[in-house]
Subunit: 341 residues, 2 copies
């Protein structure tokens, strides 16, 4: 199993991403890691780490002379054919890697992945699936689409529901995951024509579609998949991030006021650490771009080494579980059923 990691273009710089690749090499003894990016930069970053000779043999470097920056427009990629992003995807396309982990410009990753790898049979548009922790100690809630497709059609949402359902089963072990459609109320018939048609198409999929849900249902642990258009998903994901940052900032400020409180907070340190771990969706290892031929895991632009290592883990599991084959078979069975009925 070989995982390509695009080392360039992330917020924390190449050294942090390389550190994540090194951590993955140490953690997963059966996995080869292909670091893609500026070779001297990668080698300098590797100089900071000690790797056993065995792990060193599973490490590969592919030089790429260009970088897709965070704010590059999708159009500009045409002029960056030797970028680490394009080269990483080509490695997957050409068999040099089984999966790619990308932690840079999300829109560019979606575009390059789609055009380089192509779509799975029966998938009209790829979608980003983000696992979010819930109140229950069970599988996370997978929200799809988180921004790959900001102008979707109802049939896109129907396929998102199916793909995320299989992903939840295969990667998080959910049994018959409940799938909800994000809406402004729970009653059937809510929302506009787009939502009503999406509802209809989702209810025809071979999934456990439970109807409309609302934004707070993401966290209740009662549905394992929430389907929404990429515009709403993006706004919701960023609002969740912002609200979590606000809460943690205020908590830190208040726990730093006065010696009594500071002492109390010191006694609670482990509890705060466990809390952060339970809430840290980076621990789920990034968001797969579902629907492309090959495995593409999109990490947060702010990913640290641990998040990159987790993204490599999810990439490995996605490859090992034959997620794409399962998705294609489900879609094909669904189409055959639709033709018969």
């Amino acid at each position: 199993m070989r995982i390509a990691v695009d080392v360039m273009g992330a917020d924390r710089g190449p050294a942090e991403i390389v550190a994540g690749g090194v951590a993955a090499l140490k953690k997963f003894g059966d996995t080869q890691v292909l670091l893609v990016g500026d070779q001297p930069t990668i080698e300098a970053a590797l100089g900071q780490h000690r790797l056993p000779a065995e792990a060193r043999r599973r490490l590969h470097i592919r030089h790429a002379s260009q970088v897709v920056e965070m704010h590059d427009k999708v159009d500009s990629i045409r002029k960056k054919q030797d970028s680490s992003l394009v080269r990483s995807m080509e490695a997957v396309r050409d068999g040099g890697a089984d999966a790619v982990v990308a932690v840079g410009n999300t829109a560019a990753t979606v575009a390059v992945s789609w055009f380089t790898l192509g779509r799975l049979e029966g998938v009209p548009r790829p979608g980003i699936a983000v696992p979010i922790p819930t109140i229950k100690n069970g599988p996370p809630c997978v929200v799809v689409d988180m921004g790959a497709n900001t102008r979707p059609q109802p049939k896109h949402l129907a396929v998102y529901g199916l793909m995320a359902s299989r992903y939840s089963e295969r990667i998080f072990g959910a049994r018959n995951p409940a799938v909800g459609l994000l809406n402004v109320g729970e009653e059937q018939g809510k929302g506009n024509d787009f939502l009503r048609e999406s509802y209809e198409l989702l209810s025809q999929q071979p999934i456990n579609f439970v109807g409309n849900v609302e934004g707070n249902d993401i966290f209740k642990g009662e549905v394992q998949v929430v389907v929404c258009d990429g515009f709403v998903g993006n706004a919701v994901l960023k609002a969740i991030e912002g609200s979590a940052t606000l809460l943690m900032t205020v908590l830190r400020e208040e726990l730093n006021k006065g010696p009594f409180v500071k002492f109390g907070a010191a006694l609670c340190r482990k509890a705060f650490r466990t809390m952060r771990a339970r809430l840290d969706y980076a621990a789920y290892g990034g968001a797969p771009l579902l629907g492309v031929k090959g495995v593409c895991i999109i990490g947060h632009g702010k990913s640290n080494a641990a998040a990159v290592m987790n993204a490599v883990r999810v990439a490995r599991e996605s490859v090992a579980s034959n997620l794409n084959t399962v998705i294609v078979e489900s879609l094909s069975a669904q189409r055959a059923g639709a033709t018969v009925s």
Copy 2:
């Protein structure tokens, strides 16, 4: 100044809302409170409180025989013309009250308010403006629309930006509040035709329009108004609520594990209380329905007595600040300017 409070149809039951009305009477010596709902229920709830004779004279009751329940559809209101919600709005329309506080069914409140009170001149559609706390110690970020209008046109969003801007100035004392349009990226030209046209129209308003913002910008304190369509706003608000509940639940669970941590948490009790107060957007006192003739403050369905009292405070301030007059004048000046140019 007389504020009508719809006592029925909220999640915590009439006694909690009556308690909020009583608290408002005690707190605001210049304010009359009109409790609207089932008279025996209201009188029984009042029996639990001691009111000085002076405050008792500022308390009024208006009986209504029907209740608009949380899950009543908007259509069904036609059969509930003697509901507390309809009677509250009629009190404002007929001059029996200056403002109404409603903490029940939001969709019904929007519909009854719109049809009973009518729209302000120049306002195509009313919108719900929800103040959200930010990381900075300044005015909150007002997000509009939070669900009054789930199929808006760009001109609706333009007027939302203007109304929320005046609201932020008048109620929260913001100076030249920065107004952002919620989008999937900050660059101009992002999003679909609806968003690009909304961007264009917002930039023509007499407001400090700063361009596109993203979901996490709500919390940064750099913009004081975020404009979005009611579908997205609703999903975002509920996701924020859900994520805050998740964090608080996990925090409580982790701080309850083992005697050391419990002792530490006890020392931090005051810090947690301050934190909750800083994050509690109920403290802002509910969300005004901007754009109707009269003042209508929509509280959360789960509002407790303190939230109702705060909603009465915001209702008072909205009336006293002549917010509606300011909005109408701004819109009229904007139209005149648009005609000239």
